[in-house]
């Protein structure tokens, strides 16, 4: 039996019927959103690349939701002159809980598949806000980072507190830095869009069911 066949119908409480596909689609799309979100954990969300004459290949650090990858040690070695804390210090808690957190977000989305009323949207709400929470948190980390300069370090007294750019170019001493959002973040955004589509389809499918029930009552 092909579940996609157009002659397969679902009978609503008020006696009207709708194609089965109408009910399979929102479930599939919500599952896809959950899948994309979880996949993004394995990809970098943000990166910072630094160029200077004596680093012809540049120095790059990639931020994943749970770890930092790249020339962290060298950037820390350079930053210690400025009295900046090690990169590892920022967002420690977030990195510890992020994997579990995203799994919970994904599970909530999967649960939403089985909640056939407006509360499905409530279950999806944390996943919808996740990319923005990530950005806000990263900004906070960068702000804290640029405002935690150790005045007793070699150059600490000479540096005014600053916030490294979240996205775009900046200049620190002989370094030109380029900060950019990476594929993991964009995948979370795609997950968000897919999620919105899924919620729309979910509403389109189940609103008539809810209304039919009310009519019957």
């Amino acid at each position: 039996m092909n579940p996609l066949a157009s002659d397969l119908k679902v009978m609503l409480p008020d006696g009207t019927s709708r194609p089965l596909l109408t009910y399979l689609m929102p479930s599939a799309v919500l599952m896809l959103a959950a899948f994309l979100l979880m996949l993004s954990m394995f990809l970098p969300y943000w990166s910072m690349t630094m160029f200077a004459p004596q680093y012809p290949k540049g120095l790059k650090v990639e931020v994943f939701v749970n770890r930092l990858v790249g020339d962290v040690q060298e950037i820390d070695a350079l930053n210690h002159y400025l009295g900046m804390p090690p990169l590892d210090e920022g967002g420690k808690l977030e990195r510890q809980i992020s994997m579990a957190g995203i799994i919970v977000l994904g599970l909530l989305l999967m649960a939403a598949v089985f909640v056939h009323n407006k509360w499905a949207a409530a279950l999806a709400l944390p996943a919808l806000t996740f990319p923005f929470i990530f950005l806000a948190d990263l900004y906070w980390i960068l702000y804290t980072y640029g405002h935690s300069i150790d005045p007793t370090s070699a150059l600490g007294g000479a540096i005014a507190p600053f916030t490294p750019p979240l996205v775009g170019e900046g200049v620190i001493a002989q370094f030109r830095t380029i900060a950019r959002l990476e594929i993991g973040f964009w995948m979370a955004i795609v997950a968000l869009l897919v999620l919105l589509a899924g919620l729309w389809l979910h509403r389109a499918a189940y609103k008539p069911v809810v209304e039919a029930r009310q009519k019957n009552n």
Binding site: D71, Q73, E74, A77, Y81
Partner: protein, 665 residues
């Protein structure tokens, strides 16, 4: 319709115009001979000939571009090895080998002291220099494999092993039975053995014997050092030596391909002259040159290995020695005559021929391996006074080629040419090989093609991979002993002159390209390897690496949190980290008479972020390359206030990278 056809046509025109414009960018300043006008003006102003300009553009290496070939040169009396880029002829590195070398901290406190000490006769007789002669790259199937470099010390009969992962000396082996060597280092085609040939005969094992006992007690001695590629070390217990007549064996080369399993060495004192000019005897220079021929030594090393494994040897000073009688009985050694004061024994790339120069004979003599084998198989050979079978010259020789005066060494290219250094003529001779090589060039086989003057008194000669089964052609380097007027006068001790020669064109088109002064010693031989065969590290594999053992150091620490000073009686042990731009700790307080063990670990992971560690007053200087751990040990015999500081300009705050060692009286 016609209008639409116009569009692609216009596009083509636009593209063409674009190309024109691009070319025009440089054509606007081109002169007639193809040089940019400003370069042509410089050439004219300096009086450069077209050949000079050709040589300049052939050798110039723009910034950031790398030489396609790397040359490993003996450092002669400096006891070092020079690493030089070809064709730019820029020195890339000088590797400390037999001589302490401060930049690398080699012999100034770290584990390299132990490497140098391996080469001492004993604790009371340290040797702090060497006369390096013949570098030899490790080979696989007769081709350089870029893994290791070996070099001998003629003065003291020693062999050093350099690991080409970090270009540092890992082992020095003292020959326990020979007082000097010359025919080393040469490797067998798969680096099974590193061959160390002898030079001036002496009683085996440094025994005393008068020169009246020369024929009875003085001996030559060839050593087959077993190389263990996995550990990167020579294994003396699996090495062996063969006792030889005291004929002053000289230079050797391993057979390859068809002649794999054999080794050939020339010799030059079959007269067994013992000198004594002050007693009215002929001086060595005459006595040694009296005979018209000496003996090319022909060794069956695979059979010798078998004889060694069968236990047919005596152990002398901890190493197996196959006695001359055994070598003769087992058929390990044969002789064949070689003309007047021979020098060198160089095997052609396919292993078919052995070329020997005659210093006082204008010919090179070419021996056929096939004929030698046939003569050995036929048997019935006469022997010399020691009983070694001698193959008559007409049964071993393929041909002779007259090249000029003072032929010494021969190398090969990939066009069927051989290149021989002519010491007296101060020239490089290009000549053709015959047999299977005849078809590779337009000239007939066994013919002199060109003699190119070099400046002056050429000794060795090298070509790109020119002593392997896979010669690369392109360049030859003439290793000239005298430079006389080639460089600005820097006093009576004048630099050597390495001259780069272009051999890329066939026929008589060899061209001199570049003079490179060597102002620190008299190098002997060099080998030139294609750079892509080398794959060295940029930083050590992990923080806490011990370059001496090529493994993690047991006293490495990976962060400053582990740094500490521990006292146990009068022994003080320090674990220190080194990173830009500080030592941790920066204060070390000890007492006079303390025994100090000091471990230093570089936490750096960035290429070229090297730190030095100089301890004033105690003759200590280390080079701590990224990831390296070193241990120094000394007794604090002097009280006072000492500083330690970084000797590599590591960072903007390099001067601030220091600490105090306070030694309480």
């Amino acid at each position: 319709m016609r209008r639409y056809l116009l569009i692609p046509l216009l596009l083509v025109l636009v593209v063409l115009a674009g190309c024109r414009q691009k070319e025009g960018g440089s054509s606007s300043v081109q002169s007639q001979n193809g040089l940019p006008a400003n370069a042509a003006a410089v050439a004219a102003e300096r009086g450069l000939t077209p050949d000079d300009v050709y040589a300049a553009v052939k050798t110039y290496m723009p910034t950031g571009q790398h030489d396609p070939y790397i040359m490993f040169s003996s450092g002669g009396q400096s006891g070092q090895v020079l690493v030089i880029g070809v064709p730019s002829m820029r020195i890339l590195k000088i590797i400390g080998v037999f001589t302490p070398e401060p930049w690398q901290g080699y012999g100034y406190g770290g584990s390299s002291n132990e490497v140098l000490a391996q080469g001492y006769i004993d604790e009371e007789h340290p040797l702090t220099w060497g006369d390096t002669h013949h570098p030899s790259l490790s080979e696989t199937n007769g081709e350089y494999d870029g893994q290791f470099l070996f070099i001998n010390d003629k003065a003291n009969a020693r062999l050093a092993i350099i690991d080409l992962r970090d270009f540092e000396t890992k082992q020095i082996v003292k020959n326990p039975n020979a007082i000097n060597d010359h025919g080393g280092a040469f490797v067998t085609p798969n680096t099974e053995y590193i061959v160390e040939g002898p030079q001036y005969a002496a009683p085996i094992g440094w025994e005393y014997a008068t020169l009246d006992e020369y024929e009875a007690k003085y001996r030559g001695l060839i050593t087959f050092w077993k190389f263990d590629r996995f550990s990167g070390r020579v294994d003396t217990s699996r090495s062996f030596q063969i006792e030889l007549p005291p004929y002053w064996q000289d230079l050797c080369d391993a057979g390859k391909k068809v002649s794999d399993g054999w080794i050939f060495c020339n010799s030059f004192n079959t007269e067994m002259a013992t000198g004594g000019v002050e007693l009215g005897n002929p001086p060595f220079e005459a006595g040694v040159s009296r005979n018209d021929t000496d003996y090319l030594h022909i060794f069956d090393w695979k059979k010798a290995e078998k004889v060694f494994q069968d236990g047919k040897y005596e152990t002398i000073n901890g190493i197996a020695v196959i006695r001359l009688d055994t070598a003769i009985d087992e058929g390990l050694l044969f002789f064949t005559p070689e003309p007047k004061s021979p020098h060198g024994a160089d095997v052609t790339p396919g292993g078919e021929y052995i070329v020997v120069g005659g210093k006082l004979d204008p010919h090179v003599t070419i021996y056929s391996f096939e004929k030698i084998m046939a003569a050995i198989a036929a048997g019935g050979l006469e022997t010399d006074v020691y009983g070694v079978p001698v193959i008559p010259l007409d049964k071993s020789m393929e041909t002779q080629v007259e090249l000029g005066l003072g032929p010494l060494h021969t190398v090969f290219d990939n066009q069927g040419y051989a290149y021989t250094s002519l010491f007296l003529d101060s020239a490089v001779a290009r000549w053709t090989l015959g047999g299977p090589y005849d078809a590779l060039n337009p000239e007939d086989g066994w013919t002199l093609v060109q003699k190119l003057p070099v400046h002056y008194n050429i000794g060795h000669i090298a070509a790109v991979q020119g002593d392997t089964s896979d010669p690369g052609g392109q360049f030859v380097v003439a290793l000239n002993k005298w430079s006389i007027d080639r460089f600005a006068n820097v006093g009576p001790l004048m630099p050597q002159n390495f001259q780069l020669v272009d051999i890329s064109q066939s026929g008589d088109q060899m061209k001199l390209l570049y003079d490179m002064p060597i102002g620190m010693a008299e190098p002997h031989y060099v080998q030139i390897i294609s750079a892509d065969k080398l794959n060295p590290w940029q930083v050590y594999p992990q923080v806490g690496w011990n370059p001496e053992t090529m493994s993690p150091h047991p006293n490495a620490i990976t962060s400053s949190e582990e740094a500490r000073v521990e006292r146990n009686g009068n022994q003080v042990e320090i674990w220190m980290t080194v990173v830009r731009s500080h030592f941790y700790p920066e204060r070390v307080e000890i007492k006079k008479g303390d025994h100090v063990i000091w471990h230093l670990t570089s936490l750096e992971r960035t290429p070229d972020a090297t730190h030095g560690f100089a301890l004033s007053g105690y003759n200590i200087n280390l080079s701590l390359e990224p990831g390296e751990t070193q241990t120094i040990e000394f007794v604090a015999t002097m009280s006072g206030t000492f500083t330690y500081y970084c000797t590599e300009f590591c960072s903007a705050l390099h001067l601030e990278m220091l600490g105090y060692m306070l030694v309480e009286p």
